[in-house]
Amino acid sequence: MVLDFSSNADYIWALLPEILLAIWAMGVLLAGVFTEDNDSDAPGDATTLGWLSLLGLLVVAAANGWVYGAVEGDGSPMIAMDGFRFFANWLLLAGAALTILLSFPYLTRQRLQIGEFYALVLLATLGMMFMASARNLILLFLAIETMSVAAYVLTAFNRRDRKASEAGLKYFLLGAFSSAFLLYGIALVYGGTGTVNLQEIGEAVARGGAFSPLVLGGMALLAIGFAFKVAAVPFHMWTPDVYEGAPTPATAFMSAAVKAASFIAFVRVFMEAFPALHDTWYPVVWWLAALTMIIPNLIALTQTNVKRMLAYSSVAHGGYLLVALAAANHMAMGALLFYLLIYSIMNIGALAVVMVVANHDEEALDLEDYAGFGWKQPVLATAFTVFLLSLAGFPGTAGFMAKIFILQGAVESQLWTLAIILALVTVLSYYYYLRVAWYMWMRPGSSEERHVRVWAPIPMRAGIVGVAALLIFLGIFPGGLLDGALDAVQGLAAGVPAAELVSGLPDSP
């Protein structure tokens, strides 16, 4: 089927995954409120609605694959039809699905409103999918807000928890602040180029609007807004508090899918609208990447709260991804998608084990609480060790291959300094990741009974072990996924001036 977007009906086919997801999310919301028992005080059952949501995500993923394979066309001025969008959709759907699969016991124990939680996760995913496809800055902004508002609510979802409320308010205020930057940036870019379409902005900029102060100012404000959303240093201050305070399933969702979607939108805007200005924005991204790699890794060294440590680790991973954006070549873009997928699943996996150790509560998150976990729960502890090694980038895991591909992209653009920083901070990060593993396996628990009984139902256990197995598999055979990612980003980096790449970028700004 070829779509030329001459009639509005073409949009129905082009947006089939998004439409299905929207309908499904509303269905889950209604199913939740109709099955809810307002009178009884007993905790609700999260599994039925959870499976319903997972089924929906599966249907959407299949529809996404069908549109990717069977529908042709260049897309419209509003939405893109490229591989980048469809690959990103799969990645975001996988993040949402894992979050839901691993949240059953947490929602039940914390007596959270189940229907609303799943509906919000699905609606946030809908916003993310539009972020991946938007080719128009206004549509992009609406998509970002759809995602962000759902994420604010998810952060403050446990209203009995003061810390969650505090985190929600912080996230809301700073998120609204960053949205204002984005919006002002969009306004200035529109003022400078007369269009909000990314490709037309790209053409206008390439024609020589490059030194228009309006475009440069707008680009700077857009960069600040996105840096907030992806939590790049020095715009990361909200991240540790929000990730620590939020309910752990929401933390997993935010640190994986929300962050991935923000990166995808960041990349699309800068690769489609401003490739001609690469030498202008490249020093900014260079510094963001360098700071975001170094500072959170140093702070993470001193964390004793494992959830907070993973929050800083999440910020640091944003730095590795920014290296790919600074490099801005075909290899780096493919590596970015590969990294986002691997990072999403391993981070959600790690936070799932954190949920189990903390007994689906927000206490027992300290390193000491992991003592003795290894020998009492060997399966979960082995999986957790795989996640930690993969997050650290240990050879043999997918996290290692992901870092290698990013390095390859960086080296192709001759970003030697960034590549060296990446390698050094990776070695540094081994310390705080492996310290958790050391506590788990080498330290005796505080008592004999501790960790003997943990609550990890079969679907959750299967999810954790499955992700760990996948990480090992992709660590040994990364080729297929990388080819898929490289295929998906075909032409994305084409607008970046090639002459610059041949002669080599200035290695430091």
Binding site: L30, V33, F34
Partner: protein
């Protein structure tokens, strides 16, 4: 072309000077004799009954939020109704989808008890 707007600029400047001048002049010239009546939030108005930061029921928020949604619905519906014939069936379909989404929200609110006052 821009010179034709010069009177507007002059008017703007004069009115700004006038407004600022009145405030500043009254600050400088008037004598201040504060009495308790003058210091009240609404001089010669109602006698205040208590603190403005009174707590009131969250139910009012529910009504306010519902009102905003249906208010916006009217804002979208009226222009569509005016141009209904030109927009045709496509416009009708789009509007129906919009209303269906709103109805989902209404059903949710109803079922959740957001419309019950007690």
């Amino acid at each position: 072309m821009s010179s034709s707007y010069l009177p507007v600029l002059i008017l703007l400047g004069l009115s700004a000077v006038n407004a600022v001048g009145m405030v500043v002049a009254s600050q400088i010239l008037n004598p201040r004799r504060a009495t308790s009546e003058k210091d009240m939030p609404y001089e010669s108005g109602m006698v205040p009954l208590g603190d403005t930061r009174a707590r009131f029921s969250v139910k009012f928020y529910m009504v306010a939020i519902s009102f905003i949604i249906f208010d916006l619905e009217a804002i979208f519906l009226i222009p569509w109704a005016v141009e209904m014939r030109t927009l045709g069936w496509e416009g009708f379909a789009v509007m129906s989808i919009f209303l269906a989404v709103l109805v989902v929200g209404l059903v949710y609110e109803w079922k959740k008890g957001g419309l019950d006052w007690e």
